[in-house]
């Protein structure tokens, strides 16, 4: 695949929860091997948009989309597309760490097993834990319960778990919001490292975080009708220094939240 071609192309995307239109006519492209930050006030639809990229919204019975998302040039929502296969190619990390109540080892092994991994599982687990900068802390206690880890370690375990499946994209929904500042920095550094080999879309409430980690930033807002729409999308440096829209400027300078 051409590295310059966007990995996702979103066109006229709307999403409804029953009659409520949570997203309105979103048009955007997600750059490959870049970190794209989604920012915007609470309730503007950042998580909703993020879940469109790996079809997690399929699990919400009331959710329904209009418009189109192309992933690697083909329609993500085509009836022939298997959503479970898509989700093994597009990983997701959630706001709260959600390790399985199993051992550290089994947490990482889970995705490998269900996706029929044929290689050496132990090796894959070590690789993923190293990538998630967790290996040194847990290598002697792989059989211990994941629930015994600290919050920050749990979140890195969840990242390792997502990486083990070797996805092309990792979606992160405020991955550091439940963590303390030091654990947050560790996650941010990890995200930057991962962007060398993965495409990352990250939702964040934290302006500094968006400015620090991301290459591109998309700013969403909810209109009068509470529908989220895309205000502005561009290089992070441009969005934070010379935003085109006054609303973006107002938001990033904290004049409204």
């Amino acid at each position: 695949m051409n590295d310059d071609a966007p990995i996702f192309e979103v066109s006229s995307l709307s999403l409804y929860y029953d009659d409520f239109r949570a997203l309105k006519d979103i048009d955007m492209e997600i750059r490959r091997y870049a970190i794209t930050a989604l920012i915007g006030p609470s309730g503007c639809g950042k998580s909703t948009l993020l879940r469109c990229f790996n079809r997690m919204n399929d699990l919400i019975p009331t959710a329904r989309i209009e418009g189109r998302i192309l992933f690697e040039g083909s329609d993500l929502y085509h009836p022939d597309v298997d959503a479970t296969e898509i989700r093994s190619r597009i990983g997701m990390v959630f706001q709260r760490p959600n390790p399985f109540p199993k051992s550290i080892y089994d947490n990482v092994a889970f995705g490998l097993k269900i996706n029929g991994y044929r290689g050496d599982i132990d090796e894959a687990i070590e690789r993923s834990l190293r990538q998630a900068a967790l290996w040194d802390e847990v290598k002697d206690r792989l059989k211990d319960s994941a629930l015994e880890l600290s919050g920050g370690q749990q979140q890195r375990l969840c990242i390792a778990r997502a990486l083990a499946v070797e996805p092309e994209v990792i979606l992160m929904d405020e991955p550091a919001s439940a963590l303390d500042p030091i654990a947050t920095l560790a996650i941010e550094e990890l995200v930057r490292e991962l962007s060398e080999s993965y495409t990352i879309v990250i939702v964040t409430h934290n302006m500094q975080q968006a400015a620090r980690v991301s290459h591109e930033t998309a700013f969403l807002m909810a209109g009068e009708d509470r529908s989220g729409y895309l205000v502005e999308h561009g290089a992070t440096s441009q969005i934070f220094t010379t935003p085109k829209s006054e609303r973006t400027e107002a938001y990033i300078t904290g004049r409204f939240s």
Binding site: M56, L59, T84, E85, I86, S88, F100, P101, L147, R161
Partner: protein, 316 residues
Amino acid sequence: METTARGAATVRGDRAATGRFRRRRGASLESRVIWWVFFLCAMLSVLTTVAIVFSLLSQALSFFREVGVWEFISGTRWTPILKPRSYGVLPLVNGTLLVAFLAAIVALPVGLATAIFLAEYAPDKVRRIIKPALEVLAGVPTVVYGYFALTFVTPQLQRVFPDMIVFNALSAGIVMGIMIIPMVSSLSEDAMISVPRSLRQAAYALGATKLETSVKVVVPAALSGIVASFILAISRAIGETMLVTIAAGATPRMTANPLDSIQTMTAYIVQLALGEAAHGSLEYNTIFAVGLLLFVMTLCMNLLGYWVVRRWRQAY
């Protein structure tokens, strides 16, 4: 910050000063009466348990004065009424466990599958039909199950096993299994429903199918509750009386063959209690020995169930 604190203090001060919130007169007497009413109600069950244990023990004791405990526990011939008399309880234990085992074979898989279906798959409409149906199943009197086994299930089974006699363990075991399905399914479903949604999402986000999510994430996470439901259901099967009295026969026997006629501990107690044995006779006292053993067995099962729940409970 400071003003809020002071504000709160003022409100408290006001209450005390104006007495607007002063307790109604007599409230403390009332609450003491209520305390006693509730306490006595709660004590009723404790006292009953104590009384049962006491009466079982005292009568069983007079049995064991004449028959050795070891002879009772390890003997394989149970003929307390016929000569030569023999008081080995194992044939009755055998009958009880055989029926409970057959019931478990039916109820555990079906009950668990039902729970998975209800917790993970069933749309609300379907659930609204199945749940009440299960409750009805749980509410059917056991004597009805007994006649269902005897007059419906046994004849069907006899088409498959023409030599099988009318009173047999298989029919009673199958129907007992059906009877305890609601217990397994509702307790297991509760355990599965309390597994946080975030775990399911984690599984789906890794590309798991619904079946993989249910079987490899939800069921293991709910395992303590599921195992406890199994144990409690089996305990119920061990203690169940009417169904086996009607359908399983009255032939104490060491056998692993489900087609045999057997007798369970409970069915023996019923048989003897309804018979002619004189109160206080050795024959009569056998039912207390058997009852005590039954009580100990189900008590152990229940304790095991609670232990499993507490020991393995996940603190997600």
